[in-house]
Symmetry: C2
Subunit: 232 residues, 2 copies
């Protein structure tokens, strides 16, 4: 069985807003509701689990009602870090070892069904897959305001979500990390690599943006408009 886990634990400190960014609205629809609707529409996904700050549980339930998300199976408490939120979501439902879990950031509302499907298929063939896009900028290592080195852009890619795993693998990777005191992974792939297991890359999508800053909200409004045009 395939499940979607949506991580909405963050506080959105870079947004300059008191409302966590995943509850801000784009085109009148809460950011988190966009990906909930996408996974609701996909027949191959049987259940949705969400990690959210505890005080937002009623809001999640309300959104599920408003947008007819009948697949919502559980809401997990968001943790101090993204990694802990992800781990809580993995423990919030009785998964089977051979289930496939698609982990997605709530702050990426425009994940397409096609992209989610590419990630699911790649993970089923291999046990772990993630969407990536080429980096646009030169990336440098900086310490104490001194540029240590610039990295070879040719082999660098930016991780998006979905990141998809066989349940037994990702659960084991999380527990391995925690027993070693590692709690601040910026994505789930990092944990699987730490465990020494392979992860395959899938071609991501420039429209699958992560909403972090107020500027991103403007771009999101534009994309929402463009996506609606295409669906007509």
């Amino acid at each position: 069985m395939r499940y979607a886990l949506i991580l909405a634990g963050g506080s959105g400190s870079r947004m300059g807003s008191l409302t966590p960014k995943q509850f801000l609205k784009i085109s009148g629809i809460p950011i988190i509701a966009w990906s909930m609707m996408t996974f609701q529409r996909m027949n191959e996904i049987v259940g949705i689990i969400i990690a959210s700050p505890k005080d937002r549980f009623p809001e999640i339930k309300k959104i599920a009602e408003d947008y007819q998300i009948t697949k919502l199976r559980a809401i997990a408490t968001g943790g101090e870090t993204r990694q802990i939120s992800s781990y809580h979501a993995l423990r919030a439902y009785e998964f089977h070892d051979d289930d496939i879990v698609l982990i997605h950031d709530a702050a990426r509302p425009f994940v397409s069904e096609a992209l989610a499907r590419r990630c699911l298929n790649a993970a089923e063939e291999s046990t772990a897959a993630c969407a990536y896009i080429p980096v646009k900028d030169t990336i440098a290592e900086i310490e104490n305001n001194l540029v240590r080195r610039t990295l070879d852009r040719e082999i660098l890619q930016s991780a998006q979500t979905p990141q998809v795993f066989r349940y037994s693998l990702i659960r084991d990777a999380h527990e391995y990390a925690i027993t070693r005191g590692f709690q601040s992974a910026s994505d789930d792939v990092t944990l699987v690599l730490l465990r020494g297991k392979p992860v395959y890359s899938v071609e991501g999508d420039y429209r699958n943006i992560k909403i972090t800053t107020p500027e991103d909200m403007a771009l999101a409004e534009y994309l929402a408009h463009a996506l609606r045009g295409e669906q007509r």
Copy 2:
């Protein structure tokens, strides 16, 4: 003396447009004209040199006329790579060794005077400085669709432009790279580091976006609107 070098040599293949992106318009104004106007306004900059494809020289001259860019000193021929365009710009004018050159990508129209000034000041104190912003995504090394490793996001930053250098230093760094057959540096900082000289980081600006994809054009229109509001 301080000069601004604007690199507009690129073809903009990711934009899906026949017009090189630096000549597309935002709010009715060609992208390259935005930074030309900013540097024209700054008293501390005495001259502007532009690198552009040869067949666009008349367009550059027309833009300089239309927007009263009286500081335009030379137009250099764009090269095969960004690095070569930059080198051509460095040789297109009779600079003195102790001049300060601010190198900027034409595809970043929203460089602010404040950011340019921060970079100029840092470079004058140290000989080399560049604007950086923290990376938002997890960056991974990928080879043959296999994720080799994810990098420690804490010390990674994305390079923007301006990148500012003492002329003698950047000219020497370019010639050092060329004699070693290195022609594909994605920015000028890389060459200075290759030469073994220090470069300092300056806090960049999320609004100083690089226009690469059609989605970026939408964000640019929004930012143009917001910036006008602030200047009123």
